[in-house]
């Protein structure tokens, strides 16, 4: 009787444990093991050249003065903070900003490939958020495509004569949004719908992410403007030294 009681307690305990253990969430990144091996390898290879370029430009930056390195730490920390903040959105689900736009605008997109991968590794190893097998794919969306779009939009709108704060806002916001477009593409390529193929899958996956992501993209844009506002007041000299320099005077809102 006693052993029966004990074993039923044990079963109850295991059941409770099973129910309360968080299921691996793939939130905004693709969850561990959820991309077929072929695609996982494909995206890892696609990320590799950007990673190499990024390491090169980081090496170049290290010859600059130590204050520039401090700014580098700041943009890395910005991505670190923002990707930890899961924020509620209008759709009734949560998602998080990526924070890679700031660094892409200041240092160029490939530098953020390196820093973004560090953030993704941290989350994959310690938080079971994203994963090692899907690191390449997640890196491609968040640390390659997002920064490229942020940088491109920033430069493009600058050429068109937009005020600098607007370019920063649009660059960071659209970079964030595009990250999730790429995630949706990756998922729909790996899981084409039986009836409508890749396109049908894409519209399904995109509808999960897109609306949720819009307010977060706006938030990310606003926060990026805020930080550049502060930097262009306090670190004007360093911003002027950057290769991808923005004119510090105009950067202020």
């Amino acid at each position: 009787m006693k052993t029966f009681k004990r074993s039923s307690l044990m079963i109850f305990y295991l059941l409770a444990l099973f129910l309360t253990i968080p299921k691996p969430a793939f939130a905004m990144h693709i969850m561990e093991g959820f991309l077929p091996a072929g695609w996982a390898a494909f995206w890892a290879l696609a990320t590799l050249p950007f990673l190499i370029l990024g390491i090169r430009s980081l090496n170049k930056l290290s010859s600059y003065n130590p204050k520039i390195k401090m700014l580098l730490g700041l943009v890395g920390a910005f991505a670190f903070v923002l990707s930890a903040l899961k924020i509620p959105s209008v759709t009734g689900s949560c998602s998080h900003p990526t924070g890679v736009g700031l660094g892409a605008i200041m240092f160029g997109p490939t530098v953020m490939t390196v820093l973004g991968i560090i953030v993704l590794l941290f989350q994959a190893l310690l938080l079971a958020h994203g994963g090692l097998s899907t690191l390449g794919a997640n890196a491609f969306s968040m640390a390659v495509a997002g920064p490229l779009v942020a940088y491109g939009i920033f430069k493009g709108t600058q050429k068109l004569g937009a005020p600098q704060w607007l370019s920063v806002f649009l660059g960071a916001g659209l970079g964030n949004l595009f990250t999730y477009v790429v995630t949706s593409v990756q998922l729909s390529l790996a899981f084409p719908s039986g009836t409508g193929g890749v396109m049908a899958s894409f519209s399904k996956f995109a509808s999960v992410f897109a609306v949720t992501q819009i307010p977060l993209a706006v938030s990310e844009g606003l926060l990026t403007v805020l930080v550049l506002n502060l930097l262009s007041t306090y670190a004007r000299e360093e911003l002027g030294q950057l290769h991808f320099s923005i004119s510090p005077k105009e950067a202020r809102l």
Binding site: L74, V81, K86, S93, K204, V208, L230, A235
Partner: protein, 103 residues
């Protein structure tokens, strides 16, 4: 500090505070708009979609380590945010202090 300078820095502060307020509003408003929603991650939904499109798919790789509980997971998320915020605060504080000294 001259009068115009004070006016200018007040303006600067106001704009930055306004930006922060907007970000907070964007996070708070959804709580009222979608009352009663579960506010889970967009994750679960996408996961459900995968099994809908391809019911036979099973993940081929498992996380090496998972936070043993929701509390520990949120602890680690908080640590991540705190570390980042610390570095940002240190850098901004450094630059601000330097500018003040230089003025």
């Amino acid at each position: 500090m001259s009068r115009t300078q004070t006016g200018h820095s007040n303006n600067f502060l106001m704009k930055n505070l306004l930006l922060l307020a907007l970000v907070v509003a964007l996070a708070v408003i959804p709580l009222f708009i979608s009352k009663g929603a579960d506010f889970g991650g967009a994750d679960g939904k996408a996961e459900a979609l995968i099994s809908e499109i391809n019911p036979g798919y099973t993940p081929w790789f498992e996380s090496i380590w998972e936070p043993p509980s929701g509390e520990i997971e949120s602890l680690l998320f908080a640590v991540q945010a705190a570390l980042g915020a610390g570095v940002i605060g240190y850098c901004l504080g450094y630059f601000k202090g330097r500018k003040k000294r230089g003025d």
